[in-house]
């Protein structure tokens, strides 16, 4: 424990240089701006910034990316409150109460509380990260091929199950498509080139970054340009810096939402948006003023903003300890870490223990930055929000093209970006979630290599996949989440519970 505190101190001290603090400021501010602008999401921002951080030192590069991530998830709240359009999907729950508050003249209060809630949520998440990551690492060090195969499958399945809009099958389809994309190129066991159709460029596989820039950049641009009317910004002229009293009054909601958000973040491939919805639903169930929810409840706003921000450190827990991305943006972060020679996974704490605490320090600095910037820069940020999309989107697209080209400096990556953008747009229009697709792309190799390596180790025998204790547990989870997406079984189980307890149980 003490050792951990010392390492954390080292991590913080490591970034106490002018250069680092400068990086914190611009990256967080850029993040907030990206979050503010509808159509620019955290995932896309991180993917584009990877290109720009390529020449930086590894710790500074990850610092900038992390600050951008935290800033973007927070920044979305402002658009949600003033414009009723979530700046990023993560702040969709914030619109429900934030916008009514703004309409009733409490826009400043809403913005202020959103800022403090985001900061507090990140703090709760950071605490869990510090406590849980070393524990999880200890468990994960015993994992073998069997466990990693199941973890990879679990990541794709649970992400498909939980992020699907209304139909889990579409979530699974997105996951399978992602996994198939990962199959393209040279495979890791025998060096055989799969699905290259004689194209040499496909031999190295599809890079995650251009694919993400397409699926979260171009696709999002098309979605934004499709809408005919743009929203109107509500004027907010009341006090922005919230009173301590207001923050303290909702301490229970804050802690509960923070913990829920963190645990949602831990679930692979399920990120901030579900974190916000989860804590919003829980707050509504527990609240004395539940009927005010959706009509401008401060508690609802706090729950949503705490929940989505807490999911960021939460998502870093599996990302760092298992190399299993906790969210779509975390998947891009993993790719960025590999580019900079940092290998997340169980060995991270063994090989590079200070890095975990540096990540904690990065999150702390980003939290401070959103507090300061968020409460100070209200006017300027308001101006950013009114940039018309007709002016903004072509610029963003130019950056998408350059960004996907710049990493490897080949045209092929631009084609990848275009393909993922257009296919991603159509999938999105047909209500397929994008997160499982990302999970599939990043976990495909892990799944493929570990399944076959496990089979080779057991000489073709499948039993170790089911009999080793951890394998059995994860396998059970995978089977359960698939079974639960079949309507008949779901109805049956629900009925069973109603009979047993006399009342339906709320899922959370």
């Amino acid at each position: 424990m003490l050792e951990g505190l010392a390492l954390l101190g080292d991590g913080l001290a490591h970034f106490m240089t002018l250069g680092s603090l400068f990086n914190v400021l611009w990256a967080t501010l850029l993040g907030i701006v990206i979050g503010l602008l509808p159509g620019l999401t955290a995932t896309m921002g991180v993917a584009l910034l990877v290109t720009l951080t390529y020449p930086m030192a590894p710790d500074q590069a990850i610092l900038s990316l992390m600050c951008l991530y935290v800033g973007a998830i927070y920044g979305g709240s402002r658009t949600a409150i003033l414009l009723a359009i979530p700046g990023t999907p993560a702040s969709a729950a914030t619109t429900l109460d934030g916008h009514p508050l703004a309409l009733s003249g409490k826009g400043g209060l809403a913005m202020g509380l959103a800022t403090t809630s985001s900061a507090l949520g990140t703090m709760v998440g950071i605490l869990c990260l510090v406590l849980l990551a070393p524990l999880l690492t200890e468990v994960a060090l015993n994992f073998g091929s069997y466990e990693f195969f199941w973890l990879a499958l679990f990541g794709v399945v649970i992400s498909g199950r939980l992020t699907a809009f209304d139909d889990p099958v579409k979530g699974y389809v997105a996951g399978i498509l992602g996994l198939l994309v990962a199959m393209i190129g040279m495979e890791g066991l025998h060096g055989f080139r799969r699905f290259t159709f004689g194209m040499p460029a496909l031999g190295g596989g599809i890079d995650l970054i251009p694919a993400m820039v397409g699926a979260f950049g171009l696709a999002e641009i098309l979605v934004v340009m499709k809408r005919k009317v743009a929203g109107r910004v509500v004027d907010a002229s009341d006090r922005v810096v919230p009173r301590i009293r207001d923050v303290w009054r909702y301490r229970r909601t804050t802690v509960r939402s923070g913990v829920i958000g963190t645990f949602v973040g831990i679930v692979p491939g399920v990120g901030e948006d579900i974190g916000a919805w989860g804590s919003y639903a829980a707050a509504k169930r527990k609240s004395a003023e539940a009927d005010r929810f959706g009509k401008g409840s401060l508690e609802g706003l706090i729950a949503a903003e705490t929940g989505n921000s807490a999911a960021i450190p939460g998502s870093m827990i599996p990302t760092l300890t298992l190399a299993l991305p906790g969210s779509a943006a975390a998947a891009v972060l993993i790719a960025a870490m590999y580019i900079h020679g940092i290998r997340p996974g169980p060995m991270l704490l063994v090989e590079n223990a200070p890095f975990l605490y540096q990540v904690v320090a990065m999150l702390l600095l980003a939290t401070l930055a959103i507090l300061v910037l968020g409460l100070m820069l209200t006017r300027v940020l308001l101006r950013v929000m009114t940039i018309p999309r007709e002016r903004l989107m072509p610029v963003v697209y130019v950056l998408c093209v350059v960004g996907s080209f710049a990493i490897a400096q080949r045209m092929f990556d631009i084609y990848v970006m275009l393909a993922f953008g257009i296919i991603g747009f159509f999938l999105r229009e047909m209500r397929y979630p994008m997160a499982p697709l990302v999970m599939g792309i990043i976990l495909g190799t892990l799944l493929d290599v570990n399944l076959r390596r496990g089979l080779a180790l057991s000489n073709g025998d499948l039993t170790p996949f089911f009999t080793r204790p951890v394998s059995a547990v994860i396998c059970g989870l995978v089977v359960l989440s698939i079974l639960f997406s079949i309507p008949v079984i779901q109805r049956f189980v629900t009925r069973l519970f109603i009979k047993d307890r006399g009342a339906p149980t709320g899922g959370g």
Binding site: P168, R194, A406, L455, A456
Partner: protein, 200 residues
């Protein structure tokens, strides 16, 4: 469609990738959002089914590398084959579910209408511009010029053609032209001088 039995406080549409449908479009496609999607599901289901089968077949045809004496359980085609099967099953479920929903013709009509709305036109134009820039202009013109042309045309099209109350033409052209040149030059300079990227 399989509506999950959800907590009433849960979001109406779940949450995930895109910004949930906000300002409602007044096109015919939003009358009942489900109807045209049901038919879209039939088509995508069938496409996924075919794709899945194709993947399975390609995986089966993949070399088994017997000459290298690899363990037969580790053939390269194993995982892709399994994924192909899973994809085909999902496609089948999607298609079957769509067929089961009784069709009074409205589904297909809505499905077709979704392609004829103004929104669809906006998407097609944005897509054509994006493709034209990345595939035709980039590489043929210097990068800064290609970007400037793209930005200018994009702004002009969306502010003139698709706008209900456009500004005077000279103003749009002037400001858009200025923005286009600044963006083109700035991006080129930053990437070529700052990040040492040789732009196409």
């Amino acid at each position: 469609m399989s509506r999950e039995t959800q907590d009433p406080s849960a979001p109406p549409s779940g949450a995930g990738g895109a910004v949930p449908d906000l300002p409602p479009d007044d096109g015919p496609e939003t009358g009942d959002d489900g109807a045209h999607l049901v038919r879209a599901d039939l088509l995508t289901g069938l496409i996924l089914l075919v794709l899945g089968i194709a993947v399975v077949w390609m995986s089966w045809e993949m070399p088994r590398l017997e000459a290298r004496r690899i363990h037969p359980a580790t053939v390269p085609g194993l995982v892709p084959g399994l994924l192909g099967i899973a994809l085909a099953i999902c496609g089948m479920i999607l298609a079957a579910r769509s067929v089961r929903v009784a069709d009074d013709g409205a589904g297909w009509r809505r499905f077709g209408a979704a392609f004829l709305s103004t929104s669809a036109a906006r998407v097609v134009v944005a897509m054509v511009l994006a493709l034209g820039y990345a595939l035709v202009l980039v590489g043929r013109l210097p990068f800064w010029a290609a970007s400037a042309v793209f930005v200018l045309v994009f702004i002009l099209v969306f502010e003139r053609v698709f706008s209900a109350s456009p500004h005077p033409l000279w103003r749009t052209v002037l400001t858009a032209g200025l923005q286009a040149v600044i963006v083109g030059v700035a991006v080129s300079v930053v990437f070529e001088a700052g990040f040492l990227v040789r732009l196409p």
